[in-house]
Amino acid sequence: MSDVLDRLIKLAAKKYSADASTIEPDGDVFETLGIDSFQAAELMSELEMEFDVEIPDYELQGVKTFSGLAGVIDKRR
């Protein structure tokens, strides 16, 4: 597991009180955390701070999994 993916999962799990060890990298972010798209936007804001990147909304269209999200962050670092 990449460093970005690992940190992403830990942060998301902490924010939404999920067990990080049960989160699958290819799991659906919305489904796994039980969040809607607006909460996902909040999560993205925290991830941007954590990784010190700025990710335009259009890059997130169609991204559903934790690994997909990590890939988008990685590209911007």
Binding site: F38, E54, P56, D57, Y58, Q61, G62
Partner: protein, 570 residues
């Protein structure tokens, strides 16, 4: 007051407005804390004419179709307005759909021109087969040297002069898809007359002063924002603000920075605002919190008959300032607004204007006129629009029918669907409701097999059935809105379910696992939440088409809680 009775088209109305308000600020585009640009009405005219000339130089003519697939931003407005001035029928398409869904709608409406952002175009190009062979694709903000395929740059020189093209009230102004990317897409054909009637109603009920600003957050392709976040502000001489990210902290900072007065929101964002206000209050010392509670009560008493923005924003200044200090109205689709939240905002002196509408009737059918504010209904019929409750039961609940100048011409290329929806000049909404003595409408459920998501998307169960073909060991299956089978008298928390007829008594683990996996691949709002096992053969027509209505009746005899099994818990 807006008087549009002598005006023939949206384009003409905004052209007149530009003459009147030429030096006013029309548009601001923000990107996080940065400002990408701001335009006066005169500059807006130049941008829209440049875009119209670009289309016309390539043969675009009156009645040709032009589709826009873009996030909310300045170029959406320039293109939309330019399209009207070039005589286009405009097709605003949801940028949140997947590329293949967008292409299906584009294949249905066959636009002459498509305007889209570079990132969206990249995704469309990855899809197999193209619905766009004969379409001129104009792409915004493509990086230098980017490979665009058949597309051209939106920003290129027009290469010709602009000629204003007049339209009439009877001409179709927009085709707006109310649902469906499979099956038969429902493209509502709305005329210039429909929009002008709606704009006049809303512009007079909730006008923007020339120094007021509407924050366009909901997608502009959506009927609500198209009307109150594009057309109405420009007819009133007010300003439109776009923020190119929907991150909550930037929505709040934009409201403050630009002194937003009007905004349309979905319930989730409304909840977030409420949460933030409550958090801010919790940070205050106890005596200040008590003081604010007291002031809330004073405000509530003083505004019981109607809102008074000046009074409320003075009495409750710290709270109003946390939202920019100038916010006068929040618009929200009534079905999903939590009453408690609407009441909370009203006590703070910020009315949540609750309305009810269908794309088929332009924007709103009923709306709360705030005299007085009520959170328990979706308001009264707007002026000029008739609302009737038909086939009412003893409790007064029946199907809502609508007639008036805002009702669409019909669905594009779907005469059968049109004939089902429009009967003798009346629109059947498929929603169930009752009317109280003061003319306020209350909605209680749906008469048709469909759900509406909080984001305003109509989901027809038939449209997702194809995702569940050939499940192992399943003889027959059918997807339903749970409330259609078992009405609950509520319009929130709607669920979809699949009825399965397995080979044996119960679907195999393999089948259920496959069902779950396919379900997870669907967009969040289309997912099933439960399954129902039905071992008897489904009632069917001679041509073996499942009789949904009859099957629903059969299932209704069972208890909802006994029949439905949660999909994710097996």
């Amino acid at each position: 007051m807006l008087h549009l009775s002598r005006i023939q088209s949206i384009g003409e109305a905004i052209r007149d407005s530009i003459v009147t308000f030429k030096t006013n600020e029309a548009l601001i585009e923000a990107e996080r804390h940065r400002e990408n640009g701001r335009w006066t009405y005169r500059q807006l005219r130049q941008e829209a004419e440049r875009f119209a000339a670009l289309c016309q130089a390539q043969g675009f003519a009156a009645g040709d179709r032009l589709a826009i697939v873009m996030q909310n931003q300045s170029k959406w407005i320039f293109s939309g307005l330019g399209a009207f001035w070039a005589g286009a029928t405009l097709i605003p398409i949801d940028y949140k759909l997947t590329a293949s869904e967008q292409l299906e709608l584009l294949a249905h409406c066959k636009p002459r021109v498509l305007v889209t952002e570079y990132s969206t175009w990249l995704k469309m190009q990855r899809e197999e087969g193209s619905a766009l062979e004969r379409t001129l694709v104009l792409v915004t903000e493509a990086p230098e040297g980017a490979e665009l395929g058949q597309a051209q740059r939106w920003e290129q020189e027009p290469g010709g002069a602009f000629t204003y093209t007049a339209r009439t009230r009877e001409d179709v102004a927009c085709i707006v898809y109310s649902s469906g990317t499979s099956g038969t897409p429902k493209g509502c054909m709305l005329t210039h007359g429909n929009y002008l009637a709606q704009a006049e109603i809303l512009g007079n009920l909730y006008p923007l002063a020339e120094d007021e600003r509407f924050f366009s957050v909901l997608p502009t392709n959506h009927a609500i924002d198209f009307m109150v976040g594009f057309i109405v502000p420009l007819l009133c001489g007010g300003g439109i603000v776009h923020q190119r990210t929907l991150r909550p902290q930037f929505l709040r900072s934009t409201m403050k920075k630009y002194g937003i007065t009007h905004i349309a929101l979905v319930p989730t964002i409304l909840k977030n605002l409420e949460k933030r206000i409550k958090e801010k209050l919790d940070e205050l010392p106890g005596w200040q919190r008590q003081a604010i509670d007291g002031l809330r009560r004073v405000n509530e008493l003083a505004t019981r008959k109607e809102p008074n923005h000046r009074l409320s924003s003075t009495v409750l200044r710290p709270i109003h300032e946390s939202l920019g200090g100038k916010l006068k109205y929040i618009f929200a689709g009534g079905t999903f607004v939590d009453r408690g939240i609407a009441d909370y905002f009203y006590e703070l002196g910020i009315p949540v204007v609750i309305g009810y509408g269908l794309t088929e009737a332009s924007t709103v059918i009923t709306v709360n006129d705030l005299k007085p504010f009520r959170s328990d209904t979706v308001g009264k019929a707007v002026p000029g629009v008739d609302v009737e409750i038909r086939d009412a039961n003893e409790a007064g609940v029946g199907e809502v029918w609508v007639r008036g100048p805002t009702v669409m011409k019909g669905y594009l290329d779907a005469p059968e669907l049109t004939a089902e929806a429009l009967i003798d000049g009346w629109l059947r909404t498929g929603d169930l409701g009752s009317m109280d003595i003061s003319g306020h409408l209350k909605l209680v459920g749906r008469a048709k097999n469909m759900i509406v998501t909080e984001g305003g998307k109509n989901i027809y169960p038939e449209d997702i059935e194809s995702h569940f073909e050939n499940l192992p060991g399943i003889e027959e299956y059918s997807v339903f809105a749970a409330d259609y089978i078992w009405p609950r008298g509520a319009m929130t928390g709607e669920q979809l379910l699949v009825v399965l007829r397995p080979e044996g008594d119960w679907p195999s683990d393999e089948c259920l696992e496959e069902l779950r996996q396919r379900n997870r691949r669907l967009p969040e709002f289309k997912r099933l939440s439960a399954f129902v096992v039905q071992t008897e053969e489904f009632p069917a027509t001679a041509s073996l088409k499942i009789k949904r209505g009859v099957l629903a009746e059969v299932l209704r005899e069972r208890k909802r809680e006994d029949a439905m099994r949660a999909l994710e818990q097996g």
